[in-house]
Symmetry: none
Subunit: 204 residues, 4 copies
DNA sequence: ATTTAAACGAGACGGTACGTCACGTCTTCTG
DNA sequence: CAGAAGACGTGACGTACCGTCTCGTTTAAAT
């Protein structure tokens, strides 16, 4: 049984080429112009699309950006994500590798600027934040949780560790320093964060 | 010898009453309207001030907000800051008290909304970020550093702890969760962060 | 074959109701406020229209006023103009009637103030002056020319009279006195101008 | 007995150098920028004068321009005006010479643009118009009147000619065509106006 | 010659209007 | 009927001037 709504566009007729053009344009423009100068008008123009086509399918500029990241995270061909953090048995080494990779992305403006734009939108829009928590942060966090749970079960982490506290302790400082530019993003910094956090989380 | 510049307004003639009215209006409006709806037009109207008076003295909306926080942090009467974190000898207890207090502020929209607005502006504007790092985050960070240095010297922290890494490890996760709303802000969360971080930072 | 331009708005989509509201508001406000206080902001507000809708279709405040007069001169229903000056055979009487009627208009602030505003704009803007000469003054002048040509052919005016000099000689003094308020506008003045000019233009 | 007023500045202390600088700047800027771009701000800057010095002594921008012309018409050294129109006994020739000279001025932008600016201000400001009629147009008109009165008394003009109607008939068309740019300003045009008007004014 | 009150230059101020940009809605036409 | 195109009402932007109002600083008359 379907629940018919008014004003809901028929998703079946949706143009996939327009959708992709919009998301690509949004991502690229965010990288080129930065958060402040990104406008729906510009996205529509770059994508060769009517503005209404954007407003029909997304509630806000941030939602477009959000979907652009979602598309990327699922891969251009719809393939699934890496699905898991590396697990060599050496938790510290694995996490350092992941954080250093993240740090590389956060240092490349082509990736970091769109990410910053999205982050700002999420920070300023509770509804988008909920979506973000569910669809973008959630899956990534689950992957991290999985890796840490393995480590906890193998005794590398204290059995009473709260996995979300653990995740925040490892990634939170990095994201905060990146977003607010309160310090340099060096590999050593990433390593130090991992070392500190893991020492705090391991069994006594 | 000073280097004279052109077009620099004469700060000696600046109206202090207008300045205060603008900063107060900016802070209050940020709290009432949220980041998205805060406009220079509205600040000028609320402050009973011409727009040019804002543009004469501040380069951006974020800079106004920044000064509003600066004014508050220096106290309305120009008095100095609290100057130091509590030091009862029990580092964990002291930090938990501080983080719980911060958490209370971050939970009160009258404080947290302007702070969110400022944070978003800082995140989107590198120049403002530099100012923020120097004038707002800097002094606060120095106070934190001071407390942690005492703890390090008294052997509560490992002697090779980098104080900035320590500060990020303690406060970073909290600020990140607050800004992106990726989880609830509870006293227990604050305590867990302090415990985890301190365990990671203490001598082996 | 038309030569396509960039940034030219699509006239086919133009809102006729907005156009009419703008022109009416401009004319009325010019009459109520006088030239000095007439602003595009006020016209837009009175017309219930966005400022951009004015800027999209008119290059200047004077051009709006100009179109307002054009609309009036063509009649609200698009009908053609009066088409001809009266011709009773008595040229002097006909011209005196016309000049007295003009004088009545120039004495009524509801008509004369918008006209003054338009005249000032025309005086200050060569581009607008060209438009004025072609579209407003031109047709009226042609009507006057027609009446005077008939008079010339019937021997009431000298055969070598330049019709434009004749028109200027009859109407020029009146418009100049009106615009600069250098003297009273009385029916006797109008009659004297006609008598003087016709005496100067009749065959010797 | 003097009538003391409040707020009336002491003219005795007035700086003549500032006055001259202001009037010169106003005239020159009107010639350089045209009516539309002339601002009191720019006059003050060009004259090296505080804005208040302008507002202290003149009620409006038009009044400054007015005084600039007054200063010029009285000569830089305070000498009186030419005082009289030429009188060779040949009225038509004299008037044609005068009108051709006027036409030369109206064709030179350095003179005509400030004159246009003043005329526009006069047209838009009844108070200034009264001042203009009394102090600028008045004396000039009296000179013209004088020349025409002589002609009337010598029988070159009809005894019942109204001198103001005569003046308007001769100069009005020229000024109107100049101000509204409704036709070319040629010497032939000036001659034709004089011929037509004088034919209309001579005894029957 | 010194005092002193004004006019002065400078320019910050509360405003108004400018002309532009982007918003989100809407309407029209095309594929 | 989704989409492209883009005009519309709205509102904020950042700028230019308005006319008023202090500020010191000349400067010329009255001491």
């Amino acid at each position: 049984m379907t629940t018919p709504r008014s004003k809901v566009p028929n998703a079946a007729r949706r143009s996939q080429s327009s959708r992709r053009a919009i998301l690509t344009a949004a991502f690229d423009l965010a990288g080129e112009l930065g958060y402040g100068r990104l406008s729906i008008e510009a996205i529509a123009a770059r994508a060769g699309v009517g503005k209404q086509t954007i407003y029909r399918w997304w509630p806000s500029k941030g939602a477009v950006l959000f979907d652009a990241f979602l598309m990327l995270s699922e891969g251009p061909e719809g393939e699934a994500e890496p699905a898991a953090l590396p697990d060599t048995g050496d938790l510290a080494a694995d996490l350092k590798a992941v954080l250093r990779a993240t740090l590389t992305e956060l240092t490349d403006p082509r990736i970091s600027e769109p990410m910053r734009a999205l982050t700002i939108e999420v920070a300023g829009d509770p509804e988008l934040a909920a979506l973000y928590a569910e669809r973008l942060d959630g899956p990534v966090r689950e992957i991290k949780r999985r890796r840490l749970r393995v480590a906890r079960e193998s005794g590398q982490l204290s059995p009473d560790v709260d996995l979300d506290v653990a995740i925040d302790s490892i990634w939170g400082p990095l994201l905060n320093r990146w977003l607010l530019r309160t310090g340099p993003l060096t590999p050593e910094y990433a390593d130090a964060l991992v070392d500190t956090a893991l020492r705090g989380l391991r069994p006594t």
